[in-house]
């Protein structure tokens, strides 16, 4: 099997990126029962594009998505913006390193990034005077990291499929 980093992929289309972010926001806005246990899909997709396309998607996109999330959820404006900026920075910074590994080891990097993102939100909330919401909040990032191989496979599909047809 060829490692994912050395496969030749089609250049990414802007519409794919926009559609994936819209889908992630949609998944985040679904009425979940306990939000602490649900992975943050926007963070996951943002990390993916920052790792794969660090020159197209970076801190600016992360910051804007964070603002949208904040306004949509009616929380302090800027808490997710800050967290997603940190996430985008870490992902862009580590992108070359992460792409060197296989899907499972990539997940280990991603879990760290997601935990740092969650910690940024937590710090802002604690500073704003909210009580600690309990340890289940680390379940979300762990679940997100487990979803990483699936997200990679799904989001690379539009870049991969035609290549296989060409090979035939």
């Amino acid at each position: 099997m060829i490692p994912s980093s050395s496969q030749i992929l089609l250049p990414v289309r802007m519409s794919t990126i926009i559609a994936s972010f819209a889908l992630a926001l949609f998944l985040n806005f679904l009425p979940w029962r306990d939000l602490r246990l649900v992975p943050d899909f926007v963070a996951l997709v943002l990390a993916f594009w920052c790792v794969r396309q660090p020159r197209l998607v970076g801190l600016g996109v992360g910051w804007t998505l964070g603002l949208l999330t904040d306004a949509g959820n009616g929380v302090l404006l800027g808490q997710h913006a800050l967290a997603y900026s940190v996430l985008a920075f870490l992902s862009v910074w580590l992108s070359r390193r992460i792409l060197w590994f296989g899907p499972m080891l990539q997940s280990l990097h991603i879990v760290l990034i997601l935990l740092v993102t969650q910690a940024a939100v937590l710090l802002v909330r604690l500073a704003a005077g909210d009580p600690f919401p309990g340890w289940p909040i680390i379940v979300g990032p762990l679940g997100g990291a487990l979803l990483w191989p699936l997200v990679t496979w799904l989001l690379l599909l539009p870049q991969r499929r035609q290549e296989r047809e060409q090979a035939i």
């Binding site: 030749i8 250049p11 949609f26 985040n28 009425p31 992360g62 929380v75 302090l76 900026s85």
Partner: protein, 313 residues
Amino acid sequence: MDHTPPPFFKRGPAPLVRLFFFASLSLALLVVDARFRYVDGLRTWLALAAYPLQRAATWPIDIAVSVGGYFSTQANLIEENERLRAQALANMQDAQRYHALQAETAELRRIIGAIDKLEVQSTPAEVLYLSRDPYAHKLFIDRGSVQGVRPGSPVADDTGVVGQVTRVHPLLSEVTLLTNPDQAIPVQVVRNGLRAVAFGGGASGMIELRYMPANAEVQNGDRLVTSGIDGTYPAGLAVATVVRVERDEERSFARVICKPAAGIERGRYVLVLSNEAEGARPPRPDETQAKERRAEKTRRAKTKDKAAGDDSQ
């Protein structure tokens, strides 16, 4: 890997510089939002941009409900019909008694010369979703300033008070739930009329009465209703039931834990109540006090001037 060559010369500012820029921008926004509330206009526009996605996110449930409805059996429907008919009968009796009592109350109020109570108007609304934030106990409803929702209106469902509208966007509004630790509601014990203030209990999903004297007469199972003292919540709405009373020897206050009456994180439809007719609300006490103080000051100044005039003469 994609095969565009890296642009050697044009790369923009370094990532660390960008992180610094965006982080300081976020922190500035946070402080401005938390302390001064200057950015509510920006928030309204962003909320409007996110609205289509939020609206779309309720479709899966609508579809599940309608598919479930399609497959419901006739027996189920008949049973539900029976139950609803029985309930409607009971409601009808209650309603008749309510009308009679209302007439009687109006009569009594006229006799003692009290002001007529303001009519409570209600707008039905659908719950869009709960806030995706485990720290904030908020939900969003599909009625906004376009439909005439105003900030501060109480929100209730069929069993009791749910919370209060805290922010109004054009097409949707934000309701802070009773379980939010920052939310307070004036209540009254039905059994003996004892008044208190209930605060949200946060993640526990309960609400609590704080600063109750240790010998306050509250028992397990007492029902709490709104007292209507604050002029925001209409009086007599069910709020909660007492489940535990903690009387600590060391402290002079008792802590009373109550379970909310409304299905605070379950229901799909709520009512937005509004009991403030335009201009009918009495002015806030601080406003009147300030006015009185101002009047007092001018009076004093006038007498002083007069005295000064008298002296000069």
